[in-house]
Structures are given as structure tokens and as C-alpha cells.
């Protein structure tokens, strides 16, 4: 991938190879992010196409205050959220449920720790179960399905951060730029999202549980 400044100059010159380079390089990430907001792969693909059209329309106005990729992903997320709202029928419930998504509750159930009268208050009462054959089972389709379901169940901003940081390999800085949020808040969202995905895997892989 060429550096941003070269890409921007080439795009403004309407250089097709530059456009093909970013479309091919970034569309898989854009598709994955869009898919988290809309009901089908087809709609996600439309959102990605619309994003690229908006990139062409707006490239002359791109100021380079963020990376080109952050700017493109920001456009994509705006479109995906708008489209998602349009397609969802239960908006009031969804927005109520997610209103406190940044939340401050514990990420592991309180009752998994010893209470004040325990032998060691605050230490595990019900520790994380050991995973049986994680090397083998984490990449099996069952685990992938559990992860996909856990990601789908996350509140939207937690999901966006987790996808960007842990699946797509974005930096914390990029995730903050895209979501217009502080580094600390980004980390809170990431923390909560990661804990839920780990918990889903714990449920699946706990030694002695399942098959």
C-alpha cells in the first residue's frame, strides 16, 4: 500500500490503480464492519459500495487530519449505522438497551468472587474454568460460531472497537479517530467487549462442559 499522501494525490488525479489498491486492500475490513450493523451480506456490500462512491465525491475535501483509512472507515460506519437503523424495526428497544453501553459495571459476574465474609474477599470463588484442547478447538467452526454470536450481541460501539482493534488490527489511535472518542473511553469499550467474547469461549470450552 502506498503512503497516504501519495494515494490522495493519485486519487485526485483519478488514477485507477490507486483506487483499485484501496478498494481491494480495505473492502474486506469495511465489509466486516458494515456487516455488524446491517442484516445481510448483500446490504453490507451495498454500504461498502456507497462508501467508495462517497470517498470519490469527497476526496478533494479530505484534509489529511486523520489517516486516509480512518476517514474511509468513518464514512463507512456512518452509512452502516444509518442503514442499520432504517432496517431495524425495534429502534426504541435497541437504543434503550445500549444507552449505557460504556457502562461501569464489572465485566465478570460479582458472584464469581468471594464476598466480604469469604476466606479471601475479592478473590475467585468460581475461577475461570480451564479450557480443554484450546489449540485445537479455538479454530474449529464451533468456536468461530460462538465468537461471531458473541460479537453480534455486543452493543454497537463495543463491537466497532473490538472489530477494529482485535480483528482488523487497527491502532488505538485509529479506533479513537473513527469513533471520535478518547483513548481512555476506547479502552473501556474494548475491555468490556473482550471480556464478553472470552466469557462466550469459556462457556464453550470449559473442561468437562459440552462434549
Amino acid at each position: 500500500m502506498r503512503p497516504d499522501d501519495q494515494l490522495v494525490v493519485a486519487l485526485r488525479r483519478a488514477d485507477e490503480s490507486a483506487f483499485a489498491e484501496i478498494v481491494d486492500g480495505w473492502s474486506p475490513a469495511l465489509l466486516r464492519l458494515a456487516r455488524a450493523h446491517v442484516p445481510s451480506r448483500e446490504v453490507a456490500e451495498e454500504v461498502v459500495q456507497e462508501t467508495w462512491v462517497a470517498v470519490l465525491a469527497g476526496i478533494d475535501r479530505f484534509e489529511g487530519r486523520s489517516s486516509l483509512r480512518s476517514w474511509v472507515v468513518g464514512i463507512l460506519l456512518n452509512k452502516a449505522r444509518t442503514q442499520g437503523r432504517r432496517e431495524r424495526r425495534t429502534i426504541p428497544f435497541a437504543s434503550l438497551r445500549h444507552r449505557h453501553e460504556e457502562g461501569d459495571g464489572p465485566v465478570v459476574d460479582e458472584d464469581r468472587f468471594q464476598g466480604r465474609d469469604g476466606e479471601r474477599p475479592g478473590w475467585w470463588a468460581s475461577p475461570p474454568a480451564r479450557w480443554a484442547d484450546p489449540e485445537e478447538r479455538l479454530d474449529a467452526s464451533e468456536a468461530r460460531a460462538a465468537i461471531t454470536a458473541a460479537i453480534a450481541a455486543l452493543p454497537p460501539r463495543q463491537r466497532d472497537v473490538l472489530l477494529m482493534r482485535d480483528l482488523l488490527g487497527f491502532s488505538a489511535q485509529e479506533a479513537c479517530t473513527v469513533l471520535s472518542t478518547s483513548e481512555g473511553n476506547q479502552r473501556v469499550l474494548l475491555h468490556r467487549a473482550r471480556a464478553k467474547v472470552r466469557a462466550a469461549l469459556e462457556e464453550l470450552l470449559a473442561a468437562g462442559g459440552g462434549t
Binding site: 461498502v48 470519490l56 465525491a57 464489572p106 473490538l162 480483528l167 482488523l168 472470552r198 469461549l201
Partner: protein, 82 residues
């Protein structure tokens, strides 16, 4: 004088700060003292690392060839108008 001992409940809430390396040295040392004596929190951290590694290995899909073709056609039309 040392800070109060870290509990497991504290540890799980600090796991991301630790993995993201966003802790003051002192706080980090306190967390590592807890890890040294707590097998269950080492398990938790290890599982978190395995979770992240697995997330990073999930595959992504390309745009369909038809959608890509459409986009390149849009690009050529845009170029023609510039």
C-alpha cells in the same frame, strides 16, 4: 509502605490496561505481584490472550467480483466528469 494487595476482582478490570500497556510502572508491578501468586488470574489472562489471537485469525471476505466491477465502472464515470 506498599499499596493494598490486588484482588482477583481488581485484576479482571485491569486486564485490558495491562495488555494494552497503559499502566504506570507501580501499578503494573502491583498487578504482576498478584499474577505471581494467583494461578486463576494467570488462567484468565492466558484465556484472554488466546481469545485475542483467535480473533486475529478470523478470516475476512473480499467484495464480490460483480460489486467490484460496478465500483470500477463508477470510478471511470467519475473520472470522465473531472
Amino acid at each position: 509502605m506498599t499499596a493494598a494487595e490486588l484482588t482477583c476482582r481488581d485484576f479482571v478490570e485491569l486486564a485490558t490496561d495491562y495488555l494494552e500497556d497503559r499502566m504506570a510502572a507501580e501499578e503494573r508491578a502491583r498487578l504482576e505481584r498478584h499474577l505471581a501468586v494467583c494461578k486463576d488470574c494467570r488462567t484468565y489472562l492466558d484465556q484472554m490472550r488466546q481469545t485475542l489471537a483467535t480473533l486475529g485469525r478470523l478470516s475476512l471476505e473480499d467484495l464480490s467480483p460483480a460489486a467490484r466491477e460496478e465500483l470500477m465502472a463508477v470510478f471511470r464515470a467519475w473520472r470522465a466528469q473531472r
